[in-house]
Amino acid sequence: MSNLGHPLTRINRHWLYGALLAIVVIGLIVPISLPLAVSPEATRFYEAIESAPKDKLVLVSTLWSASTQGENRPQTQVVLKHLMKRHLRFALIAFGDAQATTLAQELAEEQAAIYKYEYGKDWINLGYRQDIAGTLKGMVRNINETLKTDSVNRRPLAEYPVMAGVRNVKDLSVIAEFSASGNYKSWVGLVVGSTDAAFCYAPTSVMAPELYTYLDSGQIRGMLFGIKGAAEYEQMMNEKGFTTRAITPVSLALVLLFVLIGLGNYGMYATKKMEGNS
């Protein structure tokens, strides 16, 4: 028996999967209403949008697909909502993952219908580009010349009122990037030094820890820490959206994980003890 280890080290994986699924379902059905402390970096993201001048364009860049929509979708959604609430002009652009442009378009259309935002006048989709570095280098010099047409009607950008007065990245007030990848390096390396626009970043939780060095250096103004960042942003906007509900199962699942790690370790020590006694 001792060779097989303590029973706590041998829990069948299907029980673990079942427990996780049950916790997620219960957490979604019965959300626990607890306050969430808003982090300084999320506050700075919010304040960058809140203080953006209305005569300048906000660039919303997306690099995520459905594979990370659990985090990036609510982030994008809540910031688009904020932009429209403040009636700021914005342009969408997507890099890296082709799905990003269509997903952002869908979200923008959804919010535009609520806030009566007119395509071409209040917002525009600049489309998807495969090569982020080459495109950003071009945008630093001339956005219209680099991107040429929009993604919806495929018409020259100069024809749209929303692009009036926008020549290059210097004419942007905020650059908000929603990403599942490490492309912040391209923005920081090629764009941030060329503009006064606040660069705010909304990564998945996986990437968030590596960005604190950029927050410290000021190269990134604000950050949304995955789904929790989106929940904080909703709280600052007094909204109760998906993330406000989803943060409960996230919490419960993390508690489950730590309990399981604890059980596994207890099992390990118990096994050692059993082996020592035998």
Binding site: V25, G189, V250, L254
Partner: protein, 222 residues
């Protein structure tokens, strides 16, 4: 332009939900239904990539400038790009490296600017003041000048120790260097712990999104 309501249809939601359950069946064991939906997924993803590459990249950036605007040198760019496809011919496959080399060259050339713009501000910001004056306290910070000074000292200390750990140019025999590297290794564990915790959080968010789709969009339970 279509309205927001035109992004979803009940038949699509049903197909999506059945596919989600089929792909989830992998956690029980690998099976035929999983493989079937896996193949459909790859096919749809490849089809979508073809669509986007044409409508967003090759159409507006190559076809339109060439055939509508008359910028004929784009034909040469296409010819150059076709060198990638020599990879399928044993005899000509070496030519694909010319095109690959060009893409790698462009990326390498950008590295000077990205490295300089990325790291120089960080190097500058690494020289932190150890004696902080009240006007240097960030807005909204609850810390005192002494607290920020100590944090700055710790910041620099950790950075130096971790840099020492990654310094492999000579053997770390000196006791001070070895101790510093050992401390750096321990400090790295804090960073990795933070990454581990946040990775778990990210994965949970993905699962919650799917469960919500099944409960809300498909079964209308919530």
């Amino acid at each position: 332009m279509p309205t927001a309501a035109t992004w979803s249809h009940p038949i699509g939601v049903w197909f999506g939900a059945i596919g989600t359950l089929a792909l989830f069946s992998l956690i029980y064991r690998e099976n035929r239904v999983y493989r079937l939906f896996e193949h459909i997924f790859i096919g749809l993803a490849a089809g979508y990539l073809i669509k986007t590459t044409w409508t967003e990249v090759l159409g507006p950036q190559w076809f339109t400038p060439l055939f509508h605007d008359g910028q004929w040198p784009w034909a040469l760019v296409a010819g150059f790009g076709l060198l990638f496809y020599t990879i399928f011919s044993r005899k000509h496959s070496w030519m694909s490296r010319i095109a690959i080399g060009a893409l790698m060259g462009f990326a390498a050339g950008q590295a000077f600017q990205t490295t300089a713009s990325d790291y120089i501000p960080q190097i500058r910001k690494s020289f932190k003041p150890l004696f902080v004056t009240p006007d240097q306290i960030p807005l909204g910070s609850g810390l005192t000048t002494l607290g920020i000074g100590l944090n700055n000292l710790l910041f620099v200390f950790i950075m130096v120790t971790v840099l020492t750990y990654f310094f492999f140019s000579f053997e770390q025999k000196n006791k001070v260097v070895a101790a510093s590297a050992r401390t750096g290794r321990l400090m790295l564990m804090f960073a990795f712990g933070a990454i581990f915790g946040s990775t778990v959080m990210a994965r949970m968010a993905l699962l919650i999104d799917r469960v919500w789709f099944l409960m809300h969009n498909w079964l209308h339970l919530q």
